[in-house]
């Protein structure tokens, strides 16, 4: 099975966000970056499918030059090769532009399966995977918690049986023919981390750089980003941990009356 995994580089969760001077994005020149977490689960699922069914895992990222970091990381975890659709404008591009850039790199490769994370930790569109499926003419399913890839199922045509997460603890199985695109939910598997051997091996693996071939124009523009106003009056309790804890318990007992004496 030939599998593409679309991955994104995002700022780390621990990095203190700072808004850029133009106030339309963050000032990320001195940020630290990591692999978008849902994409890490998509990569892990692809590696497991390859271990079971054979084939190839290709990681694809649309982003600026620094995105090489997460491609290298994915290669160290076990992906076979990487494609980097490189352009500075892709750092904060909208879902249509990103999906178009990815589609250009994926279309002629003849993948059986394309995986993406459910959504990114930065823009959080939750759109790129599904838009990409539409652009590639593939059937899709989202928020996937289990993948059964048995080429012998169905009426001669290769297919997948996947478990979708619905809301409120409900799930649903569905089948779809290959080639197909799935967006993967966090927690579908237990992640592996790169070994020293993997890191060494990754140095010899190919990262092919391509320019965005597509001509998509953005469907949305960010006019401003800003820290949200607090909706509620939060009483912040200061002091040492002991002082703050004491004040909190007293308030929960006497003011909010939600715990007993």
């Amino acid at each position: 099975m030939k599998i593409a995994v679309c991955i994104k580089q995002v700022v780390t969760r621990e990095w203190q966000l700072r808004v850029s001077e133009a106030k339309t994005w963050i000032r990320d020149q001195d940020a630290s970056f990591e692999l978008n977490e849902p994409d890490a689960y998509a990569l892990e699922e692809a590696l497991r499918l390859k271990e079971k069914h054979g084939g190839e895992v290709v990681v694809v990222s649309a982003g600026p030059a620094r995105a090489t970091q997460v491609l290298r990381e994915a290669l160290a975890r076990g992906a076979d090769r990487a494609i980097h659709v490189e352009a500075d404008a892709l750092a904060a591009a909208d879902a249509f532009v990103v999906a178009d850039a990815l589609a250009g790199a994926i279309r002629d490769e003849g993948f059986d399966l394309v995986l993406t994370g459910l959504q990114s930790d930065d823009q959080g569109f939750g759109q790129v995977g599904v838009v990409l499926a539409e652009k590639l003419g593939m059937p899709h399913a989202t928020i996937i918690m289990e993948v059964q890839a048995d080429p012998s199922t169905g009426s001669g045509q290769a297919g997948l049986r996947v478990k979708r997460e619905l809301e409120g603890g409900w799930f649903q199985w569905m089948t779809l023919p290959l080639p197909a695109l799935l967006t993967i939910q966090s927690g579908i598997n237990q992640l592996r981390y790169a070994t020293l051997k993997g890191i060494m091996a990754a140095k010899k693996k190919e990262i092919r750089k391509v320019a965005p071939a597509g001509s998509a124009t953005p469907a949305q523009n960010i006019a401003a980003v800003y820290f949200p106003e607090k909706g509620k009056k939060t009483q912040m309790l200061a002091g040492s941990p002991a002082e703050a804890a004491k004040a909190l318990i007293q308030k929960l007992r006497d003011e909010a009356r939600v715990i007993g004496h």
Binding site: G124, T142, G169, Q185, S186, G187, K251
Partner: protein, 319 residues
Amino acid sequence: MILVVAEQREGKLNRASWEAIAAAQQPGGELKVAVTGSGVSDVAAELAAAEASEVIVVDALALADYTADGYVTALAVLIEQERPAQVFFAHTYQTRDFAPALAARLGRALITDVTAIRNEASGTVYVRPVFQGKLNADVTAAGPAPHLITIQIGAYRADAARRGASAAPIRNAGIAVDASAIRQKPEAPFKEAKQAVDLSQAERIVAVGRGIKGQEHLKLVEDLARAMGAEIAASRPICDAGWLPMDRQIGSSGQTVAPKLYVALGISGAIQHLVGMKGARTIVAINKDPEAPIFEIADFGITGDLFEVVPAMIAELNK
């Protein structure tokens, strides 16, 4: 005209559809409500209570079970027929499954997870969270109408949706869907049997997030829960890691709770978590990051190391 696409499953209307209707009624222009499925006349009658010019039914056997292909095909035809200026959806898992493909097929903007809408002289501004809710973005749609908008669950109040003086007329759109063109074959939805804990009945909940760092530290959380007479719960990453069972998870993919007291320990407050607990009467947040979004909805907050604050709380409670 704004077209709201309501959501039903097995003939039951998703309550979040009323929130999308409330959002669409806000500017005060013409509103139509559509519902897709097979044999959904009861849902259509329920929706006809809304103050709307009409309810449109897209009824086809091929739409009896939800599939992305079926919905994209049917709604693309409906939108071309009706030519609305905007199409509103509730930002549910189902919407997330098909709306991006619908937008791509129509070649129209899709703005997701919208929490507020401002109509300004220069055009409509949509507010949506970015960076897991740590920042808000003001977003404008580019390109021709209709623009597709998904409304975050809980951002508008369902009971704020205006009801009409009389029932809105119901019309069948007469859209045919070819079942053989649907590539996804769904099976019946099910619940995992192991769902043993019903946190919705808990009066007090102590919930833990990434800040707990390791499974070995959960003992500390258990001690606090015991001292408070609370149930233990968690944000998604803790259950993903297998540190607590999935049925202890609060949020859009887990349980929704509204206890008297909710204590969030080391939970940053991503929107997927907040939708599951923001109905709690009193919310306490303890987090080392003063910018964590959880503080925006907390009644009481402590910026600090939970490994120092929680033992002090336990000591205070046991005095």
